[in-house]
Point group: C2
Chain length 466, copies 2
């Protein structure tokens, strides 16, 4: 096989034939992923996969393989992977397999272009503008303010929110660095995502200067507030919270549900992270940072590279939006979202999100009824997260205390391990503060039905009672 | 149309039919993109596309559209876009349309998973390890050192290189921030990519603390050196270059050609940015940062989120590599590269890169022969970049000087504008320092042949002589 056979002049029939065979494999996979009778995964340990299984070897050759082998490689890659679109994939995100979203991503990769300029991405740049405006209007921001950009994931979006907040208060940081600034502090909920500390470290602010603020037990504040507070003087002089001169409020509404169902929370936000690749079911990656102050993103990040952002082009160069970004090359993440919005409408997204919330409520109801499970939070879920312990027979009736906790801590990991080896269902677990390992079910998979929730609980019981 | 028709139980036939129609559109597009008789683009100004063309509207509806309209939307998106796979797309990157790469990306989006843990990406995590090892061996790094991670683009990879360099010298920066560090300075070539300054701004180091070092006219040093230098005391005390206690050398080998053809340059590098989405022709995004000191990436970036990186899992959790990253959710960028490597072998990539270099040499030869063009650099190209001016009849014979420069500066943008409106070919232009606007041809498109280079020069002449 000639190494540059694909693509090649005269190779059109071969190209079509090859791609059609790949598509047939993918269509088969999609169909199988939706069947409850198929496994969620076919688990192998790292060393098993590395040693190679049947015809599947990870090794990279010097000489080309045949096209037949490439097709085998595609099949095997899917075979040993995890079916995130399976109705019983309830692990954390991403999940689901929206067919229009998949079609959007297939088109995106075929168009293979870059978001940095209008020149090479005319349609996608305009789609980004259109989506950002729509998202801003859902936040309740007026038409003549607001800006934003799509980013490679929610953590990078959160990094942007802190970056623009810092620039908003101290624009000199861009050229002169943190050295000329007073000590900065960042306030966030004690339950906030680890990306806040991670971003503080990347940005040179230091994770110790992130202050974790207590929030109520339902963790509501954790989801909706992240403060960026500039104080004068060192934070360790005991003067942390005073004077609260300015507060830049960023909201990390990662799942997306808040945006359809809790709009009232966004009025005070200076920036909002919104991840359509979570509860809206858009294929990974699709995340946006929305910034209320227009112009801030551009001023904070632009360096006007002359080889890309020439000002003497033949079109309106305000559409060369790439210099707002901290990236140069930027993947097109907007088309799949745009196409899904066309196919569902805002109402379709709304009902998809509601279905996730209904599933959370159903799980909550089931857990309340059963004696072999215990809820981590007694309140009815306001969101799509439901956290619970499975109490195996040996622990039932045992009084609370360190002894019971130590044993309960091992239950979820053990069941999860068995689940993966059996391949029947997937759900995450975690400890949190003084709470030992519990299962955390995040509903974002549109394929999940009540029967899958029943199955989950029964399966946990089966695997936990062994 | 029911908003959750896709995907839906019992909707399998509809799903297959819809996706097959999308694929037919894509196959038609791929076939047309390879034909020289088709246009590279069908140019429209932003306001024209925004107003809507025929049935194509960017607006996002509240109610769902029909599947027929979704297919029309797909067709129109491609119609008004730029065919980056066309043999005459010579604009800067990404270009080409490698069919195996496209197949890889189609599979990736169908698998729709996340690189953060082995749990949800067993095969892709191992592919990343395998690719990084192969790339390290190409750099000449021994098997028992070296680490790396795939990132969303070369600029983010460069940001990583500075981030880990800073951590290498001052690990306390992670927790305590830049405030407790001495003033840092970053040295780079005066011709280096703007991502160095951009990253310095993001990281809180400040773009003024990036010092641009002169390099020889062939810009060689610009491609291969980026120093990160820690000095004690303020940089403005006149003591910038002394004492050069430690130098952390990062190499930005973005195009990828260096890695096959100039291996000897990498022996001193502490980190290397390698973008397979450039000259290796892998669909965007595909970039890696390789770090020689194993463990540095993990130490620099980890925060051990307990909901993701539990240590009590049922498998070897050293394969949960996501905490090395500054992202949380991370797109799978490795599969398409892995599959292309299988299909071409290292030798296939080598010859693809050589073909780009041959094209550069051919263009250089043609430019030398013609009196209506002038080379920006007289030397034979060592790389795939060739920079040149077109000298229209009215400027031929005019003596050098500010007057000629001012007029020559307008030539390339004017021709580029006409080119885009005609849709016949695309090439970039830029000024650089005291050099007025020139065309910059970067060969990375494997579809480009010598006849396309001839066409380019003839077309410039045709459009420039009007």
């Amino acid at each position: 096989m000639c190494p540059d056979l694909l693509p090649a002049p005269g190779g059109e029939e071969l190209t079509r034939g090859f791609l059609q065979e790949v598509v047939d494999i993918l269509l088969g996979y999609i169909s199988k992923s939706s069947q409850r009778s198929s496994k969620v995964l076919d688990f192998h340990h790292p060393h098993q996969l590395k040693e190679g299984l049947e015809c599947f070897s990870l090794d990279l050759p010097d000489q080309p393989e045949t096209l037949e082998q490439i097709l085998v490689d595609c099949r095997d890659t899917l075979k040993y992977g995890v079916r995130t679109g399976h109705p019983r994939f309830l692990n954390q995100l991403s999940s689901g397999l929206d067919v229009v979203g998949v079609a959007g991503e297939w088109l995106t990769s075929t168009a293979n272009t870059n978001m940095f300029t209008y020149e090479v991405s005319p349609v996608f740049v305009l789609m980004e503008e259109c989506l950002l405006k729509k998202m801003q209007s859902i936040l309740g921001w007026s038409d003549d303010v607001g800006d934003g950009i799509f980013c490679p994931g929610g953590t990078i979006s959160n990094l942007y929110s802190i970056l623009v907040a810092r620039y908003h208060f101290y624009p000199e940081v861009k050229t002169r660095g943190m050295g000329v600034l007073p000590q900065l502090a960042l306030f966030t909920s004690e339950q906030s995502h680890y990306s806040v500390k991670k971003s503080a470290a990347v940005l040179g602010m230091g994770s110790e200067n992130v202050f974790m603020v207590k929030c109520d037990e339902r963790w509501v504040s954790s989801k909706y507030t992240k403060g960026f507070l500039v104080i004068n003087g060192m934070h360790n002089n005991g003067n942390v919270c005073s004077p609260v001169a300015s507060l830049y409020v960023s909201v990390f509404a990662s799942l997306g549900v808040e945006l359809f169902n809790f709009k009232y929370l966004f009025s005070r936000a200076c920036s909002v992270t919104w991840n359509p690749h979570k509860m809206m079911g858009v294929p990974l990656q699709c995340s946006a940072i929305l910034v209320k102050k227009r112009g801030l993103l551009q001023e904070c990040n632009d360096f006007g590279a002359e080889y890309l952002f020439q000002t003497d082009k033949n079109y309106d160069v305000s559409y060369d939006t790439g210099d707002k970004s901290i990236q140069c090359g930027r993947h097109v993440d907007v088309f799949k979202l745009w196409l899904m919005w066309k196919a569902k409408g805002s109402e379709g997204f709304g009902s998809q999100v509601n279905k996730c919330l209904e599933n959370a409520e159903y799980l909550y109801d089931q857990l309340q009824r059963r004696t072999d499970f215990e809820l981590v939070l007694k309140n009815k879920p306001e969101h799509s997260n439901v956290c619970f312990w499975y109490i195996p027979p040996s622990l039932r009736g045992q009084p609370p205390g360190p002894d019971r906790d130590a044993r309960l801590h091992q239950v979820a990991p053990r069941i999860k391990g068995r689940m993966m080896e059996k391949g029947s269902v997937m759900i995450g677990y975690q400890p949190l503060g003084d709470k030992v390992n519990f299962f955390r079910c995040v509903f974002s998979n549109p394929a999940t039905q009540q029967e899958d929730i029943d199955f989950l609980l029964d399966e946990i019981t089966r695997l936990g009672d062994i």
